[in-house]
Amino acid sequence: MSVTVKRALHTVPARFTPSISEHTTSATTRPSSRKRYERIAYGPLGAGVLALWIGIALDRFVLGVALYWAGGLGLGLVQRFSPVELYDERDTTIERKASQNTMNGFAYVSVLGTPGGLALQGSGVVTLPGEFYGATWTLFGGFVAFGASVLYYKRRT
């Protein structure tokens, strides 16, 4: 438990009647600080994405990609060295549920779509484009990576 919370807890009397000032924490843990650092973190990424599009439009693709990567690096650096936690446990829960839904969607596409497409091609109904196989292998790679990650955390949990 952090020092800040411990300090706050120790200021709470039994069956509290605390004043706001008793719970006032340092400026770095205020929600406004979190919002400010979120803006600082996502600002470089947004600028990088914009630079990428401008680079593509102006046929300066390499420069655009370099600026995009720099933006991503900036996001990572701010997240790493920010004095405030930019994500809390609810964010983690939300991302986990979203990941589960995404993987479920991919599973349906993969389990139903891939054999279905191959069956249609085998029966001569359609001729599958190369993109179909590319997407199938990409999905397969995603599942392999997910499975490896699950195994890793099973060993650690």
Partner: protein
């Protein structure tokens, strides 16, 4: 999970932002807990209980329809 975080917070004269800052979570997380839309982790539940100087059972009502098996 039903809880009386909002009542305790308001009784203390705190805003959601104040409580969120003390617990080092986002204001949205406090809001979601108060609206029973998010069940906090055990660690955060302990923080809330200690913050309000009470037991977790006083703060949260899991409404469990379960009893431990008796011999």
């Amino acid at each position: 999970m039903r809880n009386d975080v909002r009542e305790r917070r308001e009784a203390a004269g705190l805003s959601q932002g104040d409580l969120a800052a003390a617990l080092e979570v986002s204001r949205q997380t406090v809001n979601a807990i108060e609206r029973d839309r998010y069940d906090p982790s055990v660690e955060l539940a302990f923080k809330l209980a200690r913050f309000f100087d009470c037991h977790i059972e006083e703060l949260f009502d899991p409404d469990l329809d379960w009893e431990p098996p008796r011999e």
